[in-house]
């Protein structure tokens, strides 16, 4: 029931003796399970009876015990109820056990295996004394830096939480306890094996636990619809019972009072009272309109369909050894109705892995080899161009300078735990990729101190004196470093955005510039992120003077920044161009195809990212979300509410020139919440909105404006959004659109959005677990989303709808026959069927065939589902199961029940057996009607089922066989002799089913029940076929042919300059040089939208790629060659319920 968590909030302190005074107040044990073996039964039963359905059946049971009312034996209710309770209890018990296991696996902290205190004491005793004090200090410092960034990612989860700001007084000294000194449970320690800490909050007080407790229970729209329908059914039940009760009242007055000769009543002859009792008696009999097994069956179907997701090999990602996981088993059919997808970018659409792909050195472009000559090479690095390796080996000075620059000019931290095993901690994956590239070409960055950088150049260890770092910021778009080589030469190395570097080059480079520009364009055209590299040798005297001024400037209080900038500008000129690098921000496999497929399925995709606008836009283009052939892509980046409103309005008017704002297409849905209908747009548009603008757009007065505009676009990208805004956007769509939303993300900053959406999907497989833990479904790759939705979701929805339609049909038909019989038995609540049949109808005779259908049915197989993404649209429009479909079901049942009652009635009326004996008796009539019913509903099921596997056939035939086996057994002599009062139907089956008359009646009713359905459906398919019908008709002749391969007409957009490869926050230069490592890293640019760090990247906790697009707009628009989907040309799908 409990377990020990590893670490919680820890304050980093620098005094080990402080630990001695620590006394834990709260144990770190967390109780997450609900039950224990003793409380299970009472607690679980109590919970189950809180469910309205179960309570209702308990109420029915009570009614059945009252002899005046009881129209059915108690066992007809008890048997199903006990079964239902048992199944649910078993499920709850396993859930409880599973939830324990899940929590056991939350332990991302690798270095701490037991409770932190033990470790701390342990480590302190053994290791701290052996450490050199400086290393000790630096370790702590660096650790802190990393922890810090870790913390920010967590902190960003909830900006509203006020930071802890208390002081700790110990031994007369005060120590501030602010955010910087706090480590949250779930953080990862890096670059150190230990640290000192004090547990502040433990166990259930931790933020993780407090947050996790608030998970809201998600329900599907079908669930909600079902609740409404169940209420309607209750109303209808009451209505039917009232009619029958009134009928009984009249009957009693007109007939019953006279019939008293043969049936005297103890309680006098009060028609009204009799009617009252009859009402309740009929409530018992007709209760099967609200079938108890419905809920259990729904659960089973969802569970089964969830298992299919877990079992799907096509959603298994072998690289991480992660299969897809349905973490929630109650939302499956909702997957078939998704209208809006909200996606994170980094780690979701992209791999968040930057690879050094190409480079241009001194006018020569290299593509990509074998690094066996270099023992320090990173084995995972792939770059295949022998020419470049040759150039390196030939000691080409430019090539060497190029890689030396990459090895020196950065803010990466190196860690060498073992000789030859280097680990880099980079602020951004871009930098990591560049330094790794240099390392593999023989320029290995090995370590750094605040004032030196050690590298191994072609096997030779060299230490460069680090004189200055001219740090990166968003305005400068470059970073430089000034070093003194071991030979004593001063040199400035600079890397940055090409446009910026080009402005600062020496004239002598103009020729090289042209060639390099060509290369840069080529790289950018492939969607790579580029950087230009340049260097400059410095004069010793000049540098000393500059250094002096630099020192003055940096100590100055006013205008410090601008003065420094001036100084930087001054020294960073007349640079000599070395070349350019190209880094690929690798999209995950299949992302553009997936997005194309999803958009063909009429799903709108919104990307919500913390990235900069340009980066986001670039990714939008490269993953096919924004397309060149779109009519327009609107950029909303206003800085005031008025601007934003105007920009949104402008966008809308250009999408829909005829403004009909007077008739805003909305309708009110209770409680004043409006629903915005979809609006028609003349073309395809995209929208990019900035974080600032989004903040305004999400304000109450403008949210409708924003929503309308955004929903008219095919694709929406929101950049620089905070996690809270992500959730707000999702909530906004949920609030005004009657649509199902899905949020997909991989990081802690996506948690809020994942929880807010109807369905949350987490990308699993890498380090971070927060997103997965709060998600409903998880898998390793974005591309699996199309399988989840277009295959699993669609099938689940289809199956659930078919199930519900059929289930209501079969139960209504079953029940309505009682209603008709009421008119012929004096409204006496006499059942038509045998009580055993009533008990077993839902549980045995019809349970498996319909479950089989809902677990195996598929209209077309998965390959064709991908081929025709349009098949997904009916789900979004709720076509397969809605109030209308339900009403049709009820009408159909009404018809069937009339056939099932009146045909046997007329066939049995005044007839006798072929030996003249009685066959129009009640028991024979019951047997005949129930057999007719079973045949009719089974044949109806056969009509519904479009995928007959061997299992289905077995279930269908088996259930019929079961019916006859059970019936003959229960009507046998033996059973009667054992319990005469329980099996009064003895001999009925033998005596009546040997009559040809009976079988002719069964045949007649069965055919009469299905013929109109077949006719209706056939004519419907011919006259106005649905998409499903068309696809299935189309596939009919080619079902057994191998499907054509998926068309992949995805091409990379033309020559867009995708931005330069700098993605980290500024301030790291200071961090690595100053020695004051503890300074909190200044957040880049605008403070409101902090760069969101994350713990999931391959490189560092701060790794977040971002880029700039210097050119902004696409330079040329190509003729679209992506196939335009033609789904709008077709009418919407109608319900084939009849």
């Amino acid at each position: 029931m409990t377990f020990i968590t590893h670490m919680d909030l820890i304050i980093i302190l620098y005094f080990s003796h402080f630990l001695h005074s620590f006394k834990p107040l709260q144990t770190n044990a967390i109780k997450t399970s609900k039950y224990n073996p003793f409380t299970f039964l009472p607690l679980n039963l109590f919970e189950q009876f809180q469910r309205i359905a179960n309570a209702y059946f308990l109420f029915l049971l009570v009614l059945q015990v009252i002899p005046q009312i009881s129209s059915l034996s108690w066992f007809t209710t008890v048997v199903p109820l006990v079964l239902v309770l048992t199944v649910t209890a078993a499920k709850d018990a396993t859930d409880d056990i599973v939830s324990k296991c899940v929590l056991c696996t939350i332990s991302p902290l690798k270095n701490f295996t037991t409770w932190i205190l033990d470790v701390l004491v342990h480590k302190t005793n053994k290791k701290s004394t052996q450490r050199n004090p400086y290393v000790f200090q630096s370790y702590i410092n660096y650790t802190h830096a990393c922890l810090n960034s870790s913390f920010h990612s967590e902190y960003n989860l909830k900006p509203a939480v006020s930071p802890l700001s208390r002081t700790l007084t110990y031994a007369g000294q005060k120590y501030p306890l602010d955010n910087e000194k706090i480590l949250l449970r779930g953080c990862t320690l890096r670059n150190t094996e230990w640290c000192f800490g004090l547990v502040l909050f433990a166990g259930p007080e931790t933020k993780l636990m407090q947050n996790s407790g608030k998970t809201t229970f998600k329900r599907t729209s079908i669930d909600r619809l079902m609740n409404v329908l169940v209420l309607c059914i209750f109303g209808f039940l009451a209505f039917m019972c009232t009619i029958l009760a009134i009928g009984n009242c009249f009957w009693e007055m007109n007939e019953g009072s006279q019939f008293m000769v043969f049936l005297p009543r103890q309680d006098g002859n009060n028609a009204a009272f009799s009617a009252f009792l009859t009402f309740w008696s009929y409530v018992i009999i007709l209760n099967t309109v609200v079938p108890i097994s419905l809920y259990v069956s729904v659960e089973i179907i969802r569970l089964g369909n969830s298992f299919y997701i877990d079992w799907d090999r096509k959603m298994y990602f072998s690289r991480y050894n992660t299969p897809a996981e349905a973490r929630t088993t109650t939302l499956n059919e909702e997957l078939g109705q998704i209208k809006y997808i909200f996606s994170d970018k980094t780690g979701t659409l992209t791999q968040n892995v930057m690879t050094f792909n190409k480079c241009s050195i001194n006018g020569k472009s290299y593509d990509t080899v074998d690094f066996s000559f270099n023992p320090l090479a990173d084995p995972r690095f792939m770059f295949h161009d022998h020419a470049l390796v040759e150039a390196v080996k030939l000691e080409d000075p430019e090539v060497h300078a190029f890689f030396r620059l990459l090895a020196l000019c950065h803010t990466v931290m190196a860690e060498e735990k073992k000789e030859g095993e280097l680990f880099y901690q980079a602020q951004s994956p871009d930098e990591g990729a560049l330094v790794t590239a240099a390392r593999n070409f023989g320029f290995v960055f090995r370590s750094r101190t605040p004032d030196s950088v050690s590298i191994v150049e072609m096997g030779e260890e060299r230490s460069y004196e680090l004189l200055a770092i001219l740090d990166f910021n968003n305005v400068r778009k470059r970073m430089s470093i000034i070093v003194r080589s071991p030979e004593g030469k001063l040199c400035l190395y600079c890397k940055g955005a090409d446009t910026i570097i080009y402005e600062r080059l020496h004239q002598s480079c103009s020729k090289l510039m042209d060639v390099t520009t060509e290369h840069l364009n080529e790289f950018a055209g492939e969607g790579l992120r580029t950087l230009a590299l340049a260097y400059k040798n410095l004069d010793e005297e000049y540098f000393n003077q500059w250094k002096q001024r630099h020192h003055e400037a940096s100590t100055e209080l006013d205008n410090q920044e601008s003065k420094l900038d001036e100084l930087y500008e001054e020294i960073e000129k007349d640079l000599l161009l070395l070349g350019a690098t190209a880094i690929e921000d690798k999209l995950q496999d299949g992302v553009p195809q997936t997005i194309e497929q999803l958009s063909k399925a009429n799903i709108k995709i919104w990307v919500l990212t913390g990235d900069k606008q340009e980066t986001a836009e670039n990714i939008g283009y490269s993953c096919n979300l924004l397309r060149e052939e779109m009519n327009d892509v609107f950029i909303v980046s206003g800085n005031s509410p008025e601007d934003v409103r105007q920009e949104l309005r402008n966008a809308r008017t250009s999408m829909k020139p005829v403004e009909d704002s007077m008739f805003l297409p909305e309708r009110t849905l209770g409680k004043g919440v409006k629903l915005i209908a979809d609006e028609l747009v003349n073309g395809e548009y995209g929208l990019v909105i900035n974080g600032h603008s989004l903040a305004y757009a999400l304000e109450g007065s403008m949210e409708l404006e924003f929503l309308r505009t955004a929903c008219m676009c095919k694709a929406v990208i929101c950049c620089r959004v905070t996690p809270l805004q992500k959730a707000q956007v999702v909530e906004l769509v949920k609030k005004y659109k009657q649509a199902v939303t899905l949020a997909i993300g991989d990081g802690a900053n996506d948690v809020s959005m994942i929880k807010a959406a109807h369905i949350g999907v987490g990308i699993s497989g890498q380090e971070g677990m927060q997103a997965v833990l709060s998600s409903d479904y998880s898998f390793a790759q974005f591309r699996f989303l199309q399988r989840l939705l277009l295959v699993h979701g669609r099938w689940s929805y289809l199956r659930m709808c078919k199930f519900l339609r059929y289930f209501f049909y079969k139960n209504f038909t079953f029940t309505f026959v009682h209603f008709w019989y009421g008119f012929f038995c004096g409204f006496s609540a006499q059942t038509v069927y045998d009580e055993w049949f009533i008990t077993l109808y839902n549980l045995v005779y019809t349970a498996l065939p319909v479950l089989g259908m809902s677990l195996f049915d598929q209209d077309v197989n998965d390959v064709w589902s991908f081929q025709y993404p349009q098949l997904y649209i009916p789900g979004q429009l709720n076509l397969y199961f809605s109030k209308k479909a339900f009403f049709k079901c009820a009408l159909h049942s009404c018809y069937s029940s009339m056939v099932l009652f009146f045909i046997p009635y007329a066939a049995m009326h005044n007839t006798v057996r072929d030996d003249g004996k009685d066959v129009a008796d009640y028991q024979s009539f019951a047997l005949l009607t129930q057999t007719c019913l079973l045949f009719a509903v089974t044949i109806q099921l056969g009509l519904e089922m479009s995928y007959w596997t061997a299992v289905n056939t077995f279930f269908v035939l088996g259930s019929l066989a079961m019916y006859f086996a059970v019936t003959f057994t229960m009507y046998s002599n033996g059973m009667f002799l054992i319990l005469p009062s329980a099996f009064p139907f003895i001999g009925t089956a033998r005596n009546s089913l040997n009559q040809p008359n009976m079988w002719l009646t069964i045949l007649l009713t069965s055919i009469l029940c299905v013929l109109p359905v077949v006719t209706y459906r056939f004519l419907f398919i011919q006259l106005c076929p649905t998409i499903n019908d068309k696809v299935r008709m189309d596939l009919l002749p080619k079902q057994h042919l191998p499907p054509p391969p998926l068309r992949t007409r995805i091409r990379r957009t033309s020559s867009r300059r995708s931005g330069y490869a700098f993605s980290h926050a500024q301030g790291y230069g200071d961090l690595v040089t100053s020695g004051r490592f503890l300074r909190r890293p200044a957040l880049s640019g605008s403070s409101g939208f902090a760069n969101i760090g994350r713990t999931t990247t391959g490189f560092s906790p701060m790794g977040r790629s971002a880029g700039y697009s210097p050119t902004g707009r696409p330079q040329n628009a190509k003729v679209p060659d992506v196939e335009v989907t033609s789904l709008q040309m077709y009418r919407t799908v109608r319900d084939p319920a009849f």
């Binding site: 007939e255 049936l263 299919y308 009667f976 056939f1018």
Partner: protein, 344 residues
């Protein structure tokens, strides 16, 4: 190799079931199946319908209402409940031979044997010969479980109590003399009812089993004296009792009283004049019920019932008609192949 296996440890199994690739038959309502199907069903139904209709037509039925509502009715005098032990004669003539074994039924209308409280008012355990339930009949029999002296009623309950007690004798009038046409009252109940469901206690004489019990209130004779002519036809296995206890499904029903299969009448009732002597005991007028007697022969399809034949004919014709409609629709409106499916 081993390493590779470990790496794929979580890979789901590749079975047709888990991958949802089970081989399956995927039927569709295509014109090639539906239209011929309708024609076939239609023709088959018409065939069955004709057979049923012809058979039903060949069955002879003779039905007389003897309730005595009408003043001209021979039993009018008996319809007054005050008249006891009333006997009336119903005279009729048959023009031609009434073929085969003729079955004689009595029928009741507006009689709710299917009323729930009526239906449950019996004790199956008692009726299967269990003596403990002779002393303490089940509650379901109430108010016919005990009489006013608190003596247990056997057989208890409304159904038994209300057993039909009119008696019939049929005479053929040949040259002014009445010849009894015997009714065979044996074997008119279901075999299972006679042998399994209803059993007398294994006490001889049967009368002793009924000690300390009283007969049902409406009965004139106790259960063990129902058939004085045949001692084996008494108690719970009296055939008429068994027929009555198999309660009817609908408020209008007929029940078998006897078969005419002996002697001269084994081949049927010859043409001539007949007189049915009715011991009129059973009151039905109070609840506006009707009593009738029915002579009928049977066929392979049982008694006369024209509904089934007509229904088959109608539905068969409708099927054929619909298949023509469908054919027209299919030929005229079937969606063109060329713009078949979006995306193609």
């Amino acid at each position: 190799m081993v390493k590779e296996e470990q790496e794929l440890a979580n890979r789901p199994d590749n079975t047709a079931f888990t991958q949802q690739r089970l081989p399956a038959w995927q039927p569709m309502l295509s014109a090639g199946i539906v239209i011929p199907g309708f024609v076939l069903i239609g023709l088959a139904f018409i065939g069955i319908g004709v057979a049923l209709f012809v058979t039903s037509r060949s069955i002879q039925v003779l039905e007389f209402d003897y309730t005595g509502v009408d003043q001209n009715s021979p039993c009018f005098k008996c319809s007054d409940p005050k008249v006891l032990n009333c006997v009336c004669n119903l005279n009729f003539s048959i023009d031609s031979l009434f073929k085969g074994t003729v079955f004689f039924y009595y029928g009741l209308s507006n009689y709710y044997q299917n009323f729930r409280k009526y239906g449950v008012s019996k004790d199956d355990v008692q009726l299967s010969g269990d003596l403990t339930n002779f002393k303490t009949p089940s509650d379901t029999c109430s108010p016919y479980a005990y009489d006013s002296n608190n003596q247990p009623i056997v057989p208890c309950g409304s159904i038994a109590n209300s057993m039909f007690n009119d008696a019939f004798k049929l005479y053929q009038i040949i040259n002014g003399t009445n010849t009894l046409v015997p009714f065979d009252g044996k074997g008119i109940a279901w075999w299972t009812d006679y042998n399994i469901k209803y059993r007398n206690p294994s006490i001889t004489p049967l009368k002793n089993a009924f000690n300390n019990t009283v007969k049902p209130i409406f009965w004139s004779k106790p259960a063990y004296e129902l058939d004085t002519s045949d001692p084996a036809n008494n108690g719970f296995i009296n055939q008429n009792f068994l027929v009555w206890m198999r309660r009817a499904a609908l408020p209008n029903f007929r029940k078998l009283y006897g078969r005419i299969n002996e002697g001269d009448y084994a081949q049927g009732l010859p043409a001539g004049n007949y007189s049915l002597e009715i011991a009129y005991n059973y009151p039905v007028l109070s609840f506006d019920g009707r009593k009738k007697v029915v002579f009928s022969n049977v066929s392979w399809m049982g008694g006369k019932n024209e509904f089934l034949g007509i229904a088959y004919l109608v539905i068969g014709s409708m099927c054929v008609f619909m298949s023509i409609v469908m054919l027209i629709v299919y030929a005229k409106f079937k969606f063109p192949e060329e713009d078949g499916v979006p995306g193609h």
